[in-house]
């Protein structure tokens, strides 16, 4: 099994190393190009070693697939941003992420503690978010995404709130779910939970949404909404989820309508929507030419990159993905398709689908009564999915663009770290499965 993992990661690494060399042809460049690959291999092999020591061997797909995605992303970042980009990817994402994952695997009781500390975790996440909404650092687009505390680098708190919500909802449903269902009122076909049970979750999500809107981080709002609906759907065994979603949707529509009448729709959203309808629209080009790097310009560049890539791609280092704004973060999928082709682009999406399915598979192997762990894993799967869905759909102009990062691919500090910690959590929970199956076997 270990051989398989080494083989998988090793094969991928070598392939990538070769490609990196092609980009910077002559021999003296080969050695430095191999170094990042070695770091990546070391990080993932370390996690694997931790798993092996704990004798967790029943899930052999998740980690190699994650490593493969990370390597593809790292190659693109290396190509676009050079050593600085890859260094940031390692120091702020990969290395701390791998250490935390190893820690979680080595210390299996951490999940138990997380369950007990769910409420504080949720509240801290919410608190940080509200602080950011109020005092965050504004970036050049006017979005207030990061909180800067003292000398530390700015932290994107909207990434933390997503994990906090998963933990909080998993705990909440485990703790109150059955009771809420028992006390539900029936109204026609719908089943309404008693207000006492609905209120805390609704309040939590509502507060987070308001803070995110204040930060104009609409991508995060969308992810929270998807998470909320998906987790309630999975967590309850009755149709209660339908009621709650319908209520949430009605509320959102109502607020939206009121906002539409009293305020103007924020320019960001309006332009994003126009750019979605027609990236070449003259409404996006006040001077007739799209030189301004507006939303139409971004989407145009992404589309031209996708077209330029064809099936096999222009070849690493041979295309022009640097024409795309934010090619290393939001639009990394377009950059990958330009240089590695739509074959790799589609493969990346398939790999994400595999990750989602494997995580849920682990959840289903858990004992029935461990609702917290199960919902935690489902939440993580849905979170990864929603990031990919929003970003890939935005890149392909299937719906209006909202800037989130692609898990494991995009250059990102906190976002990448959070995604790696999520994988760490999945790996840690896997030990429960091992124990459970072992007990079942011995009994």
């Amino acid at each position: 099994m270990l051989v398989f993992v080494i083989g998988g990661v090793g094969f991928v690494s070598v392939a990538v190393a070769e490609q990196v060399q092609n980009g910077a042809d002559p021999e003296p460049f080969i050695r430095p190009a191999l170094l990042p690959v070695l770091v990546i291999a070391a990080a993932f092999l370390a996690i694997h070693a931790a798993l092996s020591i704990r004798k967790i061997t029943f899930e052999q797909t998740l980690l190699p697939v994650t490593a493969l995605l990370f390597v593809i992303g790292a190659t693109m970042i290396w190509r676009l941003r050079g050593t600085d980009g890859i260094a940031q990817q390692f120091t702020r994402g990969l290395i701390p992420g791998a250490l935390i994952a190893i820690g979680l695997v080595a210390w299996p009781r951490s999940i138990e503690h997380l369950r007990r500390l769910s409420v504080p975790v949720g509240l801290i996440g919410l608190g940080l978010l509200i602080l950011t909404g109020a005092f965050g650092v504004e970036d050049e687009t006017g979005a207030r995404l990061a909180l800067k505390i003292g000398p530390l680098p700015p932290v994107q708190t909207s990434e933390i709130i997503k994990v906090a919500l998963i933990v909080f909802l998993a705990w909440y449903i485990e703790h109150e779910g059955r009771a809420a269902e028992g006390r539900a009122h029936t109204l026609l076909w719908f089943r309404l939970p008693a207000l006492r049970y609905l209120a805390p979750a609704a309040l939590f999500v509502g507060a987070a949404t308001l803070a995110l809107v204040a930060m104009s981080d609409y991508g995060a709002v969308l992810i929270l909404a998807i998470l909320f609906v998906a987790m309630l759907y999975t967590g309850f065994e009755t149709r209660i989820f339908v009621t709650i979603s319908a209520l949430g949707l009605a509320l959102a529509l109502l607020v939206g309508l009121i906002l539409n009448h009293t305020w103007e729709i924020p320019a960001t959203i309006r332009y994003r929507y126009l750019a979605f309808q027609n990236p070449w629209s003259s409404e996006l080009m006040p001077n007739g030419i799209t030189i301004a790097e507006g939303p139409g310009y971004q989407i145009q560049q992404a589309i031209y990159a996708i077209i330029a890539g064809g099936v096999t791609g222009a070849g690493l280092g041979l295309g022009t993905p640097y024409f795309i704004p934010l090619a290393h973060s939001d639009f990394i999928l377009a950059a990958i398709i330009e240089e590695m082709g739509s074959a790799v682009g589609i493969a990346v999406l398939v790999l994400y689908a595999v990750i989602v399915m494997r995580i849920v598979r682990v959840a289903l192997l858990l004992p029935r009564e461990q609702i917290f762990e199960r919902l935690l894993l489902v939440g993580i799967a849905v979170h990864l999915f929603s990031q990919v869905f929003i970003m890939a759909g935005g890149t392909f102009n299937l719906f209006p663009l909202t800037g989130v990062t692609l898990p494991f691919l995009s250059l990102g500090g906190v976002a990448l770290l959070v995604n790696l910690v999520e994988i760490g959590l999945v790996l840690a929970v896997m030990q429960r499965v091992q124990q459970f199956q072992h007990e079942r076997w011995t009994v």
Partner: protein, 524 residues
């Protein structure tokens, strides 16, 4: 439903959604890929496509320019397209352009800084070959007309090279230009403003084309160079210059009159009573609708039509046009491309060409007899391009058939294999009967016999032609014209010469014709 069931469902649903999202790639690459190709190779089509995408109001059909220049073309496509086009083009070596003797006329060279530049050898062909812009996104002249070939597009091996990331080299062009004839034309014109076109009458191959003043295409990318040029140096006078044809137009009036049966070889024109003007010259006058058209070119009061043509008797041709059925006269003008609504379809040149006209308004040519009479001897509202007049001479010497002038003899791949031959060769027929052509040809030869020494005029070749001195009104010097032909076993050539404000055609344009025709008909 249980948690297990729901979790299972949700994982399958999410995986499925991701697979569906990946169809976005397929959509852009397969369905929109072609129309959004990043190459602005065809600025007109690209501009139209992006105007549609932008939601601009649809332009009236026909109001769009036939050829969008590079600057306009670039301004009309989005900046990302320009970016990607520049990048793509910078990696392609454009094909080399040769003349018919194998000399390089245009080629890609690498400077010491490793920069790729386009080098042009002969400024006298600047208007014909054109030039590519500094970033290679735009082109003029043959560089634009054969852009796809010069970039090697649509050639299977370049598609493979593109896939394998190998360097791409475009196809080469071999032009019809004969360097000796071209050189003779340049020297004969001597830098005076005007144009010379020499066409091989049997095939339509353009042997020489000169438009003066010219410019240096190697400096086209220098800031301010092109805009600093005065005197319309960027206009290709041979195909785009519109000039009053003067007496050379009598050729068409003669064709129309003879071909329609209005006159025959024996028809005699009676000029009536002569009047002696104050300077002592004998002049005849043709009076029509209160206008008097003077004719001081001859003493005889009666001339047969051929001699009237040789003497360039204005009154005779005013009378022929005046007495002819106007619709018939217009039809003959249109057959030769003048005020022809289908001009660009019938005479599709490889270069941008101006539309020759018979009159500002054809209805006034029908109803206004004075205008038609003036048109008959080449004044009126006529506007002719030199290449169109060369085609008229060509039809006469070719038994009534025009072989459309073309510039590209063959397209060859970098290994020298011929990809296509004479891509723009075609024939224009239905102009006149063979007998008409022979009659007019004899009349044109008569002019050389009468004034220029017949067989001695062009050594070793029989020649014919018609002079023209296009009066411009006011104090302006007239345009000097000559159209004609020369033939021997080696070659049959049709030539048009115009010198702007040059004076009398017989003094200025004839020597140029003689020099060019001699070069074209001599084998060495």
């Amino acid at each position: 439903m249980t948690l297990e069931r729901r979790a299972w469902l949700i994982s399958r649903a999410l995986a499925l959604i991701l697979l569906l999202v990946s169809f976005g790639v397929v959509y852009w690459q397969l369905l929109r890929g072609v129309s959004l190709q990043p190459v602005a190779l065809d600025p007109v089509t690209a501009a139209r496509e992006y105007a549609r995408l932008r939601g601009d109001p649809t332009p009236e059909p026909g109001s769009e320019p036939a050829q969008v220049g590079m600057m306009e073309g670039l301004a009309l496509v989005p900046q990302p397209v320009v970016q990607r086009t520049v990048n793509l083009l910078s990696k392609i070596t454009r094909g080399t352009i040769y003349d018919s003797a194998g000399n390089v006329l245009a080629e890609d060279r690498i400077t010491q800084d490793g920069e790729r530049i386009r080098y042009y050898a002969d400024p006298s062909l600047a208007h014909t070959i054109g030039y590519v812009s500094a970033l290679r996104t735009g082109a003029m002249g043959l560089e634009a007309a054969y852009n796809d070939e010069l970039l090697g597009l649509n050639r299977p091996d370049t598609e493979i090279a593109r896939l394998l990331h190998q360097p791409i080299r475009g196809s080469d062009l071999v032009l019809t230009i004969d360097p000796r004839v071209q050189q003779a034309a340049v020297e004969a014109l001597g830098g005076r403003a005007g144009a010379v076109v020499a066409v091989d009458a049997r095939t339509g191959a353009v042997l020489a084309i000169v438009s003066s003043p010219t410019y240096d295409p190697n400096r086209a990318g220098d800031a301010g160079y092109l805009s600093s040029l005065g005197g319309g140096a960027l206009i290709n006078r041979a195909t785009q210059g519109l000039y009053t044809p003067g007496s050379t137009w009598k050729t068409l009036t003669l064709i129309a009159a003879y071909d329609s049966g209005q006159v025959n070889a024996g028809t005699v024109i009676d000029f009536g009573q002569p009047q002696v003007d104050p300077s002592g010259r004998t002049c005849y006058y043709y009076e029509v609708d209160g206008g008097r058209i003077p004719d001081c070119s001859h003493r005889e009061s009666r001339l047969d039509v051929s001699t009237a043509y040789v003497y360039s008797a204005n009154a005779a041709f005013a009378k022929l046009a005046d007495e002819m059925d106007p619709s018939l006269y217009i039809e003959y003008a249109q057959r030769f491309g003048f005020s022809d609504p289908n001009y660009h379809r019938r005479f599709p040149l490889e270069l941008a060409a101006a539309l020759p006209q018979a009159a500002n308004d054809l209805d006034s040519l029908r109803t206004n007899n004075l205008l038609r009479a003036s048109t008959g001897f080449g004044q009126g509202e006529l506007l002719a391009t030199p290449i169109q007049m060369a085609m008229m001479a060509q039809a006469v010497v070719n038994d009534g058939v025009i072989k459309l002038p073309y510039f590209v003899e063959s397209v060859r791949d970098p290994e020298g294999r011929v990809i296509s031959t004479r891509p723009n060769s075609r024939t224009v027929q239905g102009l006149m009967r063979v007998r008409t052509a022979q009659f007019v040809k004899e009349a044109m030869a008569g002019l050389i016999n009468r004034y220029y020494g017949g067989a001695n005029f062009i050594p070793g070749a029989a020649a014919g032609g018609k002079t023209g001195t296009a009066q411009l009104g006011g104090d302006l010097e007239p345009h000097a014209w000559f159209i004609g032909f020369a033939e021997n076993e080696y070659r049959r050539v049709a030539i048009a010469v115009v010198v702007e404000h040059g004076g009398a055609g017989s003094d200025v344009a004839v020597p140029i014709f003689r020099q060019v025709a001699a070069a074209a008909t001599s084998q060495e």
